[in-house]
């Protein structure tokens, strides 16, 4: 029975035009479009060897701390070159292009840049780090604990080196790779439509085929498990093809750990299917279910920062638990962690949460499905 049901579900999914389009072709097409849009940056070999910054000193205590940092960084042959200037001069230099950015050392240091690009994002990143650690530095200054200050400053400058390395081509965590991670995540969430289809096709009040199956001597559970696995298999093949396509056809540098990326994709796809299961159990017509599903996955993607990048950081500050359980965030982060860190602990945490969510969705759906009889067909 298992192979019988699996085989035919698999066959009808593969032959279903909508499934083939949305689950297989669409991500490939979108990936290709991304590639021609900005994919070339992902592989950009060109490195930036120097970023020159004008420093405008306004606030005294800021100046004191920052000059320490400047010294450290200039010694450690980092990218950054600093030049202390008066505000007007700095602005003319920025205008002429002799400096890439201006740091104004007010009470809260601020940044003036001319245009957005890799350079400015590095500078932004650097200043953000600095501001975040600033409280610690001030504390150390007040308590006169010089060794502490040194340590913090060297932490900033070191992490800066790591970031530089990553952003400038050697590593894989540049902004552009993020788009492709998000693409893979989206592809996995699309699998939810298949999950909803599976569940829909065993609810007799949903369509004639389901009613027809409902009068056969096969229980809903016996029916739904092989069908769900067929959907999982298709999704796994899809995500593997997508990852191979991005890595080996478009030759994007998305990281070395292909095997683990595929594993992540498979788990993510299985989650997508389980989400579809859950929403498929809602007592509404199929179009409504698909509507809800689209809205839910869009919302997840939105909170993961697919549309507005800063949203994730905002949530991290105000409602961090959303980031911990938002599947779209979890999935993109998994890819990011795989390639940004050698340490697997964060990756494993995220994968586990995703796994628990998957089991949860399946579990609740099974409870909802069991023993349902229908008021009307």
């Amino acid at each position: 029975m298992f192979t019988h049901l699996f085989r035919y579900r698999f066959l009808s999914l593969v032959r279903n035009k909508e499934v083939t389009f949305w689950n297989i072709l669409f991500p490939l097409v979108l990936g290709t479009m991304f590639f021609f849009g900005f994919g070339r940056f992902v592989n950009e070999e060109e490195t930036i060897d120097e970023i020159s910054m004008a420093v405008v000193e306004v606030n005294e205590s800021q100046t004191a701390i920052f000059s320490e940092l400047m010294k450290q960084l200039e010694d450690s042959d980092s990218l950054f070159q600093f030049e202390v200037l008066a505000k007007e001069n700095a602005e003319t230099e920025l205008e002429e292009g002799t400096v890439d950015a201006i740091i104004v050392l007010e009470e809260t240091p601020s940044l003036i840049i001319k245009e957005n690009g890799i350079t400015s994002s590095i500078v932004k990143n650097f200043l953000d780090q600095y501001i975040r650690k600033q409280a610690m530095i001030e504390e150390a200054v007040l308590s006169g604990n010089v060794s502490n200050i040194e340590q913090i400053i060297s932490e900033i400058s070191q992490s800066q080196d790591v970031v530089n390395e990553k952003v400038l081509g050697k590593g894989n965590t540049n902004t552009y790779a993020q788009y492709f991670y998000a693409l893979i995540a989206m592809c996995c969430l699309f699998a939810s439509f298949q999950g909803a289809g599976c569940v829909n096709d065993i609810q007799a009040n949903m369509n004639v085929l389901a009613a027809r199956k409902g009068v056969s001597p096969v229980s809903k559970m016996t029916m739904v498990i092989p069908e769900a696995l067929a959907a999982v298999s298709i999704q796994s093949i899809t995500v593997t093809v997508l990852i191979f396509y991005l890595k080996y056809v478009l030759k994007l540098e998305l990281g070395e750990k292909t095997g683990l990326m595929i594993l992540t994709g498979i788990l993510a796809g299985t989650f997508g299917i389980s989400l579809g299961f859950l929403i498929g159990c809602i007592k509404k017509d199929f179009d409504t279910k698909i509507g809800i599903l689209t809205a839910v996955s869009m919302l997840m993607c939105f909170f993961s920062g697919l549309m507005i990048v800063t949203i994730k950081g905002f949530l991290e500050q105000h409602a961090p638990f959303i980031n911990r359980i938002n599947p779209a965030t979890l999935i993109t982060e998994c890819f990011y962690y795989l390639n940004a860190y050698d340490d697997y602990s964060k990756y494993i945490t995220n994968m586990s949460i995703l796994g628990i969510l998957t089991i949860g969705c399946f579990g609740v759906s099974i409870m909802l499905l069991k023993g349902a009889r229908y008021e009307s067909i």
């Binding site: 032959r15 085929l209 009613a211 199956k213 001597p217 023993g371 009889r373 009307s376």
Partner: protein, 313 residues
């Protein structure tokens, strides 16, 4: 232990305000071809769905093969074949695969299944279409596929819900003959339709449904005896005056005479030589007339008399 294959007692099914099935009773014996006849919306499909435990119902008991039928009565469902009113096949699977899929839900033995599927294909005459996808089949062929999917596993009880909608007369006859053949092979059949000719042609017993109620039950002869009319004599192109019509009304067994547009219809409630009596009288009165024919009552007349409306839409 009775030999009732299906027993329905006091079934009530409501859709919100609407009572779709209203205290319905039914007993189907082994080996019967049982007809459920009723106009659109009379509750035929709803009744079948309740029997199959697809639908919740408000009241009543339903037994199949002598056991209470529930959602989880898989051992009972194993012996039932259902042909739904709406075609239920997979768009993505071929004719052969569709039949094999449904057959496989009942028959796990592969060799046996293969044989059964081939037999079902032959039965509905789809040999030349095995590799076709449903969307390439015409409406009638699609109906035949729908039937094949329901009968392939050789069930003991077959339930057909208007299987011949949109099927041309030739294929329809083939299907009806096929159903009788399945019955000869031992299957008990429930057949619903709003075509009285079909039901008359194949069913040994018939229940007539209207507005969720069973309004008459019996063999077609029994049903026809339930009504007053036994024969209607029609005379065309005839010129009658009121006097002649009065005389006709006085003939034995006549209970109604309709004369309109030079056509005379005389309704009898019995008697054996009614035509002769009418013609004798017309000749005696020197009334010229054209074609003469007599009509025996149909199930439509039964329906008309019992409900006051036509069975046909």
């Amino acid at each position: 232990m009775s030999n009732n294959v299906v027993r329905v007692e006091n079934l009530v099914k409501r859709y919100k305000e609407l009572i779709a099935v209203d205290h319905f009773n039914l007993e189907i014996k082994e080996g019967e071809v049982f007809g459920l006849l009723g106009p659109n919306g009379s509750g035929k499909s709803t009744t079948l769905h309740c029997i199959l435990s697809l639908l919740k119902y408000d009241k009543g008991t339903i037994e199949v093969f002598g056991e209470k039928m529930t959602e989880n009565s898989y051992h009972l469902k194993k012996d039932i074949g259902v042909i739904m009113q709406n075609v239920a096949v997979f768009e993505e699977l071929t004719v052969y695969q569709n039949i094999d899929y449904f057959c496989g839900l009942y028959i796990t033995d592969k060799k046996k299944r293969k044989q059964y599927v081939e037999e079902a294909i032959q039965f509905v005459g789809l040999e030349d279409y095995k590799k076709f996808l449903p969307k390439k089949l015409s409406g009638g062929l699609l109906r035949r596929l729908n039937i094949a999917c329901g009968i392939a596993h050789k069930p003991k009880l077959l339930i057909f819900d208007e299987p011949t909608v949109a099927v041309d007369p030739q294929s329809r006859n083939k299907i009806l003959e096929g159903i009788l053949e399945l019955n000869r092979q031992g299957a008990t059949v429930i057949y619903t339709s709003h075509y009285m000719e079909e039901v008359e042609q194949i069913c040994s017993r018939i229940a007539i449904m209207d507005k969720g109620k069973s309004i008459a039950l019996g063999t077609k002869e029994e049903l026809k005896q339930m009504i007053k009319n036994s024969e209607t004599v029609c005379v065309e192109k005839v010129e009658c005056n009121d006097e002649v019509i009065g005389k006709i009304k006085n003939l034995k067994y006549v209970y109604d005479v309709v004369y309109a547009e030079k056509e005379l219809k005389v309704c009898f409630s019995g008697g054996n030589h009614n035509v002769i009596h009418v013609l004798d009288l017309l000749q005696k009165e020197d009334v010229p007339f054209g074609r003469v024919y007599t009509e025996l009552p149909t199930l439509n007349d039964v329906f008309l008399e019992l409900t006051g409306k036509e069975l046909r839409d």
